[in-house]
Amino acid sequence: MLKLIITRLFQSLITLFLIITFSFFMMRVAPGGPFDSERKLPPEIEANIKAKYKLDQPLVSQYLGYLSDIMKGDLGLSFRYQNYTVNELLYEGMKVSLTLGSLALLFALLIGVPLGIIGSQREESILDHLIVSTTILGISIPNFVLGPVLVMLFAILIPIFPAGGLDSFGSYVLPVFTLSIYYLSYITRLTRIGFIGIKRREFILTARAKGLSEPVIIFRHMLRGGILPLVSYLGPAAAGIITGSIVIEKIFNVPGIGQHFVQGALNRDYTLVMGVVVFYSTLIITFNFLIDLVYLVLDPQVKYK
């Protein structure tokens, strides 16, 4: 068990290293630099700017310097937002994006899992068909369609929620709902399939034969195995919610990391884009590592091997 955990940890670190390396060199081979503009800069100024951002050094030493800075937790200076470090920009955006993302994931889990369990217990009933159809609808409506439509309905036609910004409790409702609906549907489907797969197993039959009550069967016996597919989906889900939040931030005019990323990419703000990539990769890889641990605890087949 311990050996498995250490191997996973090691693999996570390697993945992170590869992602950093790959992104670094991809950004540097790109044609066109961040300081190219219509007006040609005088050579001395250009040299000064390059020296400030260490762009005058050979590529390899830039790379090594970047790596050692990351080790110290320093993501460098933003190329475009002068006088800001990437850390400052990330910190500002992160507060917003992570709040949105975690609220959305929480909402999706709190509604999705019970719905999936209900569907699986009443398989092929009208309620179940309704759940299945609604969830297909849920994964078919892109958030960039749902978001504006919700704004149109609940902020412009019937003004009960603000159309943008994040300054009151009410202003969280629409963005969180929009962001979570796809994952809510997907989680419902996975839970339903997981529970349907497990409810015909023999140990459930035994539990029924013993005369255990339905809630006990569901929560003591089925839950553990039934949510396994869901657990392994949480990693991709977290990655997806982070991506989705780019759109949500644009629609609802929220100053999160996603906005920084798209703007940074368009402005060729290499350090900022790298910073976002590195930060999110670390976050997701850590998250996946934790999920692996949860999986180990939950899955009896892995545990006793």
């Binding site: 693999q11 991809m26 790109a30 078919s140 892109p142 990655a239 990323f261 368009l266 999110y280």
Partner: protein, 284 residues
Amino acid sequence: MRDREKEENFITTVASLFRGNAQLRVGTIILLIALIVALIVPVFSSYNFYQNDLDLGTVPPDIDHFFGTDDLGRDLLVRCMWGLRISLLIGICATCVSIFIGVFYGAAAGYIGGKTDALMMRIVDMLYAYPFIFFVIILMVIFGRNIFLLFAALGAVEWLTISRIVRGQVLSLKNRDFIKAARVSGCPTLKIIFLHLIPNCFGPIIIYTALTVPTIIMEESFLSFLGLGVQAPMASLGSLISDGVGYMETSPWMLVFPGVILCLVLFSLNYIPEGLRKKIDPVR
């Protein structure tokens, strides 16, 4: 004679697939209507997708323009149909790329087995939870927003699941007698993979292909919505929606029509594999 029998057999198989399967029927009918309309309307319409009519400005839906016009006076119906064409085209092409990579990678890993397999699958695991759309965004920005790059980039990030599925199938198939027989009779490895293993994985491959198309259409629209996908004057459903959002208070039809079309297409594309799965994979 024999050919005809085969043909009838094929027709009855397809017919039995649709019988008593509302999900498959509904999905296929909506999709076919969308395809036909997308192909026919631009041909017969007197408008085209790039012609501006600035005097017109935004006009609500009427007899001349069924879907109204956009801010530059372009006919929205024709633009939506072009957008639908582009979205479907990208969906299908990028899916082909991803299925090609995924099937080959998965089959190779499963068939070779052992350490190679373990390594190849760990790579897939590592890539799995990475928000790849970031890489696609960087790629689009760096190398220009080119539609062929979009096919390749989206295809290249969506092959992971299919490779896992194919690998699982190949693992369970490779010790079956007919594969052993092929190996004993000196059939080369590549031939075994392509002629004997992959055709036997077609069921799951088809279901998963059907699931990948809507995913990719969604991703393409997402990129176009951010202004990183298909470039003006060409339109995809995503860029039309993005335009529509800007004018949604004054001319909501610019958002509603492309939005509804995209949802309908995605809905039908998601419904089809649901129906297929019931027939091909009765356990789930």
